[in-house]
């Protein structure tokens, strides 16, 4: 299971990486915005994308739309982990095809729950 973590704050990437390691996912890579993440996704065989929304360059929502528009990436499970908490934004993310949405600050348990749920749905 190869996971890409996209967030412009390195501390948050580290936190998510730590939590994922604790959940047994050790193969993770990092990118600091959509612009760097997209080529990585296109050239690497990632199984899962965890992305922030608010980033300079390409935002997470734009990254999500790009992923869904790319035929080779369209089915990649995407979890959004973000401080963006407006209802409109959550609806926009859902309509863009997000697989899960976690608002910051979050707990390890919530992250685990959402990831489990995504794989349950994708795998089953």
């Amino acid at each position: 299971m190869k996971i890409l973590i996209v967030d412009d704050f390195s501390t948050m990437r580290r936190i998510i990486k730590n939590l994922l390691r604790d959940l047994g996912f050790t193969n993770t890579q990092e990118a600091d915005d959509g612009t760097t993440a997209l080529p990585m996704l296109r050239s690497g065989d990632f199984d899962f994308l965890v992305t922030d929304w608010n980033m300079p360059g390409m935002t997470g929502i734009d990254l999500l739309k790009q992923v869904r528009a790319d035929p080779r990436l369209a089915s990649l499970p995407v979890l959004m982990v973000t401080a963006e908490a407006k209802r409109d934004q959550i609806i926009e993310a859902a309509q863009a095809g997000v697989n899960g949405y976690v608002v910051k600050p979050f707990t390890a348990q919530v992250l685990k729950e959402k990831i489990d749920k995504i794989f349950e749905r994708v795998g089953g």
């Binding site: 967030d7 704050f9 501390t11 948050m12 580290r14 936190i15 730590n18 939590l19 604790d22 929304w53 608010n54 980033m55 935002t59 929502i61 401080a83 963006e84 908490a85 407006k86 209802r87 409109d88 959550i90 609806i91 926009e92 859902a94 949405y101 976690v102 608002v103 910051k104 600050p105 979050f106 707990t107 390890a108 919530v110």
Partner: protein, 259 residues
């Protein structure tokens, strides 16, 4: 742009002055005093108009600059929601968040430290007993006690390390404040940059005051707002009806959308 308008205004005024002056000389040479005094009145009027225009433009430019300043002034009814006030709220929130994170981190350390200390203490004590066992200094009773003590210790060790792990993970998670406060600080930095720009504008207007001439009317507040509709907002610091109040709210909203 603004200097072009300003020059045009000046040029018109100067042209009017020159025309009037030329005519005035003609009239005076021809002894047409009534027409001459009429022209002088016109000259006065032109100058007054010019000054009124300049003051009007100056006032408008000043007003724009002040509005763009986002200052919390009582003059404006929308002042209670000014961006400066919003920035202060954001900074207050940053202080609260860093303080909470620091306290919760220290709470975790204070919970974890005694667990580690107890385990260490018991390990040292057992190490001593174990040494006596190796040197065959233990009686049968003492051996039985050591036997059950080791059993207890292994149990404590399992529970203790689990608790330590949990606290360490929680400390990692606490560091999320850096991202959230960072987003808020970036917003405030953006506002300060805007205010600085307006301040420079105000200084430029003040420079024009001495000239009491036309000012930049083209520069209006309207070109300031650019694509705000879908931009990211960063963490929400107030409860608002259009904002979810936590993960449970997010889950409810998503499930209502068929998730």
């Amino acid at each position: 742009m603004e200097t072009a308008g300003h020059l045009k205004n000046d040029a018109e005024f100067v042209a009017e002055l020159q025309d009037c002056a030329k005519l005035l000389v003609e009239k005076l040479q021809n002894n047409e005093y009534e027409d001459a005094s009429h022209l002088i009145r016109n000259l006065y009027n032109a100058r007054d108009r010019h000054i009124f225009n300049s003051v009007g433009k100056l006032t408008r430019a000043l007003h724009d600059a002040i509005v763009n300043f986002n200052v919390d002034a009582n003059l404006y009814p929308e002042a209670h929601s000014s961006e400066i006030r919003d920035a202060s709220d954001r900074l207050q929130y940053v202080i609260r968040m860093t303080q909470d994170a620091a306290n919760r981190t220290m709470d975790r350390v204070e919970t974890a430290a005694p667990i580690a200390a107890n385990l260490g203490q018991e390990a040292h004590a057992l190490r001593a007993e174990w040494g006596r066992l190796q040197r065959r200094e233990l009686s049968k009773d003492e051996f039985a006690r050591l036997y059950s003590r080791i059993n207890d210790f292994l149990e404590q060790m399992g529970e203790g390390t689990d608790a330590l792990n949990q606290n360490l993970q929680a400390i990692i998670l606490e560091q999320g404040f850096q991202d959230l406060t960072g987003q808020l600080l970036k917003k405030v930095i953006g506002l300060i940059t805007d205010v600085e720009k307006e301040l420079v504008n105000l200084v430029r207007i003040a420079g024009h005051v001495e000239e009491v001439t036309g000012l930049n009317t083209e520069h209006r507040a309207s070109d300031k707002s650019t694509g705000k509709s879908t931009s990211a907002e960063g963490p929400q610091i107030h409860a608002r009806p259009d904002v979810v109040s936590g993960q449970d709210d997010v889950d409810d909203l998503l499930s209502s959308l068929g998730f």
